[in-house]
Every structure is written in C-alpha cells, then in structure tokens.
Symmetry: C2
Amino acid sequence: MTQRIHDFLLRRREEGRDTEPCLVVDLDVVRENYQTFAKTLPDTRVFYAVKANPAPEVLRLLASLGSCFDTATVQEAEMALAAGATPDRVSFGNTIKKERDIARAYALGIRLFAVDCKEEVEKIARAAPGAKVFARILYDCAGAEWPLSRKFGCAPEMAVEVLDHAQRLGLEAYGVSFHVGSQQRNVKAWDRALASAAAIFRDCAERGISLKMVNMGGGFPTKYLKDVPTVRSYGMAIFRALRKHFGNRIPETIIEPGRGMVGNAGIIETEVVLISKKSQKEGELRWVYLDIGKFGGLAETMDESIRYQIRSPRDGADVEPVVLAGPTCDSADVMYEKSPYPLPVSLEIGDKLLIDGTGAYTSTYSSVAFNGLPPLKTYHI
Amino acid sequence: MTQRIHDFLLRRREEGRDTEPCLVVDLDVVRENYQTFAKTLPDTRVFYAVKANPAPEVLRLLASLGSCFDTATVQEAEMALAAGATPDRVSFGNTIKKERDIARAYALGIRLFAVDCKEEVEKIARAAPGAKVFARILYDCAGAEWPLSRKFGCAPEMAVEVLDHAQRLGLEAYGVSFHVGSQQRNVKAWDRALASAAAIFRDCAERGISLKMVNMGGGFPTKYLKDVPTVRSYGMAIFRALRKHFGNRIPETIIEPGRGMVGNAGIIETEVVLISKKSQKEGELRWVYLDIGKFGGLAETMDESIRYQIRSPRDGADVEPVVLAGPTCDSADVMYEKSPYPLPVSLEIGDKLLIDGTGAYTSTYSSVAFNGLPPLKTYHI
C-alpha cells in the first residue's frame, strides 16, 4: 500500500466516512506502470484496456501520458475521447459489435477494429468503409491464472481467410491479435503466439496481402499472492520472440495492458461483519463475512480464480483458515471456500481488512443494486 | 408471454426504441402469483423476498395486496416501507448484518430478525432490544436447481443454543427458518425440513422457551425449461407435513417466495449481435453472441445453473446446438457451452430473442457499467 492510500484511508476513518467498503486507486502508481511499459517496450504502442478500470481520472492521466486505448464498446470509446484521446489512438477491440455501434464508432473517427470471422468483416465493410481490421486468433492459455475461454478468436488458418475477405471488401487487412490469457506468468507464452502470428503474415503475403501490425494483447500480471515476473523480463522475452519469428522485419506492435496497468494501484477496504461457526463439530471452520463480496466488486473470485492478498490490523498473530464470504443474501456469494483463507485467529467483528491489487476489474463488475446495496465507492487520488 | 408484454414490445420496436436489451415485467402476473400463494396457504403469511426484484412498482403492488416483505439489507427495508408496508410487515432476513444497520432497522420500527449464531444474537440484543429473532438452520438442498451453499444457517442442535442465548439476552426467541434451495422441484423437501424444525420446537420447550413461528423460506420454482409442480401441490404437501410434525399445534408460518412471485412475470428481449464459427473443422459448433450476458442480467447462468427458455422468431424451423455468449470483452461471459443450446439453423444477426422467466434475479444482478454498457433497462407494466 502506498503512503497516499494509507493517509487517505486514515482521514476517511477519522471523518467517520468509513461505513461502506471502498476502492482507492493511487494514480501515481498508474503513471509509473505506464512509464514502465513505455520504457520497456519502446517500439510498442500501449493501448490501455479501458474495461479494467474506466474511471475518468485514470483515462485522463493515461491520455495525457500519450497512451492509446483499447475499447470494448462505443461507450468506452466515447469515454476515451472525452478523456482527451484522439480517434487515431482508440481501437474498437471487441470482436462482437452491433453494426450500428460500428457506424457510431466510425462517425467518431475510429478506424481500427478487431474481427474473428467473416460475418463481422462484412458489418465493418458496410459501416466503416476502408477501416483497418486485425484478426484475433485463438490461443490456449497454459500458464495463465485466469485462462480465457474460446469466446474470442478463430483458428489461425481461418484468420487468413478472414483477412483475405476484409481486403476483398475494401478494408485494410492490417494485422493479427492474440491474448495469452489474463495474469499470464509464463514469459515464454508470447513466443508461441508470435510464431503463429508470423505464419499468418507469411500466408497473407503469399496472397499479396501485406500485414503490418501484431497486437500482443494483455495478460501482463499484477501481483496478488504469488510473485510475478517483472515487466522488464516480459519485455525482453517479447523482443527476443519478435526477432526470432520476424527476423529483421519486425512489424508494428501493440500491447493492451489492463490489469497490469491498474491492478496494483488499487486497494479495497472492507469491514468484518460477522465471524461464526456452523456447528460445534471438531474441525468446523469459522466463516468470516465481509461487507464486500462477489456482487460488490470481487467478481473475479468466481471459482476462486483470483486469490487476493488480504491484510488485517492483526497481521503477525496466529492465523487459521476460514471460509470467506460476502454480505448478500445470495448463497453463491462466497469468495474462498474450496481453499479456505488464512486469517488471524484474533480477528474481530468490526475489523477493517485491506484487499491488495484490486485496481482492476472490481468497480465496474459491481452490481447495480443487488440486495439494495450501492455499487462500490471509488476514489482515484 | 402475456398479450400485454407482446403489445409493449411491439410498440417499442415500432417506435425504434429497441436498440438495447430490456426486461419487461407484467404486474398482472405478479398479482396472480400473490393471490395463488395467499389462497393456497391461507394460514401462512407471505413475505416477498425483495432481492428477487425490488422495483418500486412490484413492491407497491404487493404492499397494496397485503404482502409482507423479507429484506436483505436496511436499504431494502426502506424500499418496502416507502412502497407502503408497515414495519410489522417487514423482516430483516439476512443472517449477516452490521450492528449499525440493525440499529437503523430498529429505528424504522422493524422487530423481526434472522440469526444463525450467538455473535449475531449479541449484536441484536444491543441494537434492537426486545426484538423477535428466528434461527436459520442448515438444510441440504437435494432436488433444488440452484442449491444453496452452507453460507446461511447453523446445525439444528446449535440453533437451540442460539435461541436460548437470545432469550437470556432479553430477545424473544421466536422461531426457526430454513430454505430448501432455490427452484426446488421436490415437493417433499419441506417435509424433512419441517421434521427438523419440530425437533427444535421440542428442544426449546424443554428449556422453557415457547417458539411460535416457522419460516419456511422460499424455493418455490418458476418454470424455465422443465415443468414444475404447481403452487397448489406445494401447498398441500406443506400442509400435510405441518400436520404430521406439529399435530394440532401448528405454529404461525411464513413463506418467502421471490422467484416464485416474479420469475414468470418477466421477459427479456435481446438481439443477436453475431453468429460465427471458430474454425472449419467438422463438428465445430456455431457461436451465437447476444447483447445481454452474465454481466448484463443473466448472472444466474453461472455454471449453467439456470437454463432459460429462449424463443426466436424462427421457432419451428430446424434447430442445432450452439454456444451462447454475451457481448462483453470478458471471456467468462458465456452462458451455455458445456450444454450447448438448440437454436434455429436459420437464425440471423439482428434477430430478436425472448428469454422467458426472467422477472427474478436479473435487473439488480446487472453490473453497474462493465465494458461501459448501461445496466439492464426494465419496464414494469
């Protein structure tokens, strides 16, 4: 936790405003993260994945630093533009788009679109004539903590057909994208994906299509419980892989960090609402209920995928594993049960806990009013 | 679908307002559902589970019909009161409450609280002196489509201790509650739970505590794809079980229908955004992407638990199984993949689909702005 967040939370408590959980994001950390990406991969353009945290403060900061923006919807594109980005710095990176939304994005000046099938290419040809498109390929995400489903992307051989189709319809077949999975800890994952991208470049070249760009997606991890490699080690591995597969003709490259840009900049403060047991049976675990759960911002604990680091004022004391659950009347609102979470034995109702690394994929996942609870309060300082 | 919903959707389309998905709830169906519960179990008070759908229109209608309200938070209690319920018709049914929220509810006049441990009893004794409490017991939910975790409730033998503790601290040990699991299709499930409740009544009587109420919770199913027993058959089974376990001294009873009250009153209209394949491989399924998904209101498709009935304008044509996914840039936003969903082969991009039985647990589950998408639009007509 940074000193700024520490001081902010202290002041909030002193002023008696700590009655609800909140997320605090330190913009200085976001700035450092951006600069690290920019410095480590100097020839790569950074497209911040807006969905990770679309707070205007984050977008304005990144726009001022020169970042580009990967947007999932027209609404996100509008937010990026409102924050100061120019349309040439915004991509429409979702492979699933309504034709009228493509037209809206085109009207805003956006010219870079993701596709993974001919059907989507046809919509873009009609609604955004002449635009650049890149084809997303499927990639198995071994090594990722939050592996992706097969939802986005197509087989590499189909990507060639999709790009060919785009070129025939008057679009500019511009490049290839992949995603190695969120929270990818194996720095070599990019190597295999880049090999596949290079093969598509060659196949397209044989058809007379000269691709120009590789979008290497996101996947850069933030530190939760386990240590993760540094951005520098990713940068070096990526550069080596580019050299290996593209030789002296390294294409234009893009990365789309989301979690890696804002994850470690945020901390959630939550309160222990109840500590209890279900029976007096030997070995029965304690249940600890917080005032935030799966529907209040911790959606990524789904299937216990993301295991956050949680700190308490009693750290250092003896710990024991507990089941950790949220405050709603929904029985699915349990964060860690299959792998109970070690917390201090001396923990008490009313204690405040800090959940680290929650700057990404928390505030906007929060439900609009489930159980009458307000969405997660956020402060970007 | 009712004629009123049909006409509403038609008018919306004619006026060109059908650019986003929406939920339409027919209040006449809610009224009928309430009356069916009231008629079938004439001696049982109905506490509508507000969390299922807290729309003011639903709450006002039910308040005017004489319903009571089961609330999960102070915010929900305030909504029920604002809709016209008196405090004696509102219970604070969540076993996880902040002490200051108990005090707020007490100040609003609420006197009925759920507990499942001594720690919670102590909070209530301090913040709501003299209030009535009922102890929730654990119950395994065999037969339920959406079985509950062990999050709420304690072992029956512990419930006796909890109620005894309440009585000693000046509260009124009032009764027992259980929940047979959501979407419970086995009408006999209540029998086993009532046997357990009756045993707690006897154990408490031996300690000089005279319990008065059994809260039989919710679980009454709404019809999705499979046929479900009628409310009448539930009513008869429950009445027989009460007679069997309580003889001539049948206690005051409460039910808490949520899904059973509003589920079948609502329909979601959604648009097909994209239909595509991932490769040309033999047997590769088509993917159908809608403009609503797990983060827009269909959260209950988590683990493919709830399988909604989906209708298309091309029903009657040949069908084939497809993978059904939502519109966001989140790879977890896939509704049906393990069990692909049969949809017409002739389905086209732009077609409107109707998702039946979506009046409960949809609108408020929807995320506040994930991917910049607005929360689900709702109309209660």
